[in-house]
Amino acid sequence: MHMADALLSPAVGGAMWVATAGTIFYCSKKVKEDLDDRKIPLMGVLGAFIFAAQMINFTIPATGSSGHLGGGLLLAILLGPHAAFLTIASVLMVQALFFADGGLLALGCNVFNLGVFPCFIAYPFIYKPIAGINPTPLRITIGATLGAVIGLQLGAAGVVLQTVSSGISELPFNAFISVMLPIHLAIGLVEGLVTAAVVSFIWKSRPELLELTADTRPLGDISLTKVIGALGVAAVITGGALSWFASSSPDGLEWSMFKVSGHEELEAPEKGIHHTLAVLQEKTSFLPDYSFKAGDPEAEGLAETGSWPAVDSGTTISGLVGGVMTLALALSIGFLFRKRSKTA
């Protein structure tokens, strides 16, 4: 599932972008150091393969819904983690640009969710130890299925965290994650089975291709500490960026602090279901609602930044009138251009 720009705050989106870009630089360096120039065409063509294979839908047995190949783990198995990460990033970039899956800002999140987990967690720590150096179809199946499931669960959790900490959507963490995880458990199972089948197929028909392509070096290549370290760095960057944004807009910070503390001044409706939900959200969203800029309430349009629950009818009406006028202007511009291009 692809994260969308519309649900992201710039702080979260930006932090994920930085983390992703950093990983891309790191992996590019690694692949270059690898000095295996076979990998360059291989990455390109396998990326195209994933792209094409994803475009064919199949029915998932007993559910009637349709699925498609995920690809992250498959690429890691065929290319090794670093090259695979770059390839996934490329596939997602093409999808973002041509099919508007996600968006420019969300690209960081999507690459992170669909790339880091399969390549740097699922592959080295799950698939590889299980499949081993001399894989058998059974080992491949177990490893691939488990790897895909766990990779996707982490990815889904990533989507939830990013959405919730962006605070554009009101979905509470608990509710959201309790929907996302089971759905992605099913998807992960399917993806794992397909990955396993495809890898076994290659392994049976042309074993030398797997040897050729796979990162033959054992686990030592990427150590647990390194991965945890990298993720830690990403987290620190995220947190740092967040607090930077937060401190640069004290109003927003103040606002969310008030919200967390449930301060009286805010006069939030603290009764009934809203209250419980609000409390639930406070409890569960460990990254509270940071807002990017709420500095100048006048400029923001008081009603919309909603320094809660100020219902200033004056500002609201002028906002409405102005908004309608902007819309009308937009439409007429479009219309004018159309006319001109027709007469031209």
């Binding site: 599932m1 720009d5 519309a6 705050s9 590019s28 360096k29 000095l35 120039d37 076979r38 360059i40 065409p41 990455m43 390109g44 063509v45 990326g47 195209a48 393969f49 094409a52 294979a53 475009m55 064919i56 839908n57 199949f58 029915t59 998932i60 047995p61 093409v94 099919f99 420019l104 800002l105 605070g167 554009i168 009101e170 959201f176 089948a197 495809v198 197929f201 290659i202 807002s291 990017f292 400029a299 923001e300 349009g301 919309e304 930044t305 909603g306 809660w308 629950p309 219902v311 500002t315 009406i317 002028s318 906002g319 409405l320 102005g322 908004g323 006028m325 937009a330 479009g334 251009f337």
Partner: protein, 269 residues
């Protein structure tokens, strides 16, 4: 029909648009990439209840779309096509956030509805921005621009190669899919069991192809480095365009122009 047909269509269609020649097409790709990024960043940085202040960005986009002569129905169709996730997540807002935000006569509008509309608006603008970028620039040019902006070369090279072979592999996949459909009769999507074989077969062919391509590259002196003579020249006009767009975007971000305008008209302060 399968998605694979439409994918082919989308790619070729957008690529074709990118071959047009308009004011927007002629701008340096780096400028376009940067402006698109700033645009998206501005749009998503508004507070979740913002609607009117975002509208001018739509205006900006519509002007660019028209200058670039991109067919609007095509864009709208694509936007609608990808909207489900944003809508699915956003639709919960009215439910969870029932805080009244404004009262219009008898109707009380809650924060949830306002933020839902805001999400949809952001969504259309962000998706629109991406599509306009690609339709007015083309994929390869964007790649070159990104390299100039600091993207690692090795990443760019395989990205270009991926893009090149998408067309080849989509066609190959499409033909396999056709061959398979012709021997199935219930018209549903294909069974997972069959898909596995199909994908395995395609992968096998892909791996063989990768070997042949590598050979072709070696035959022409490939040594791990890709050299491309591609020159991008930043003209004064490009810088000017960038400055203007930047200023406009910043202005729209900092001031709620519709509200100011509305205040001016209605006289309410």
């Amino acid at each position: 029909m399968a998605k694979i047909d439409t994918a082919f269509f989308d790619l070729t269609k957008l690529e074709e648009m990118a071959n047009n020649d308009t004011v927007i097409h002629r701008i340096d790709p780096r400028v376009k990439v940067l402006v698109a990024s700033i645009f998206v960043l501005c749009v998503v940085s508004f507070h979740k209840y913002t609607i009117s202040a975002i509208l001018p960005f739509g205006l900006f986009l519509i002007i660019v779309i028209n200058l670039a002569e991109i067919p609007t129905p095509f864009l709208l169709k694509k936007i609608v096509l990808v909207s489900p996730f944003a809508i699915m997540v956003g639709i919960f807002n009215p439910w969870f956030d029932q805080q009244p935000i404004m009262v219009l006569g008898a109707i009380t509008i809650t924060g949830g509805w306002v933020s839902f509309v805001s999400i949809l608006l952001r969504f259309c603008l962000c998706v629109g921005a991406v599509l306009v970028l690609i339709a007015s620039t083309g994929f390869n040019t964007i790649c070159f621009a990104m390299v100039k902006l600091g993207m690692p070369k090795i990443f760019a090279v395989q990205l270009l190669m991926l893009y090149r072979y998408i067309f080849v592999l989509l066609e190959e996949g499409l033909r396999m899919y056709q061959a398979m459909t012709l021997r199935t009769f219930d018209g549903r999507a294909i069974a997972m069991r069959i898909y596995m074989h199909l994908a395995g077969q395609l992968l096998l062919r892909t791996l063989d192809r990768a070997q042949r391509i590598h050979l072709a590259m070696l035959c022409r002196g490939f040594d791990g480095n890709i050299r491309v003579c591609q020159t991008l020249r930043m003209a004064k006009l490009d810088l000017f365009f960038f400055a203007v767009c930047f200023a406009i975007l910043l202005l729209m971000r900092c001031y709620n122009i519709p509200a100011m305008f509305g205040r001016l008209i209605t006289g309410i302060t």
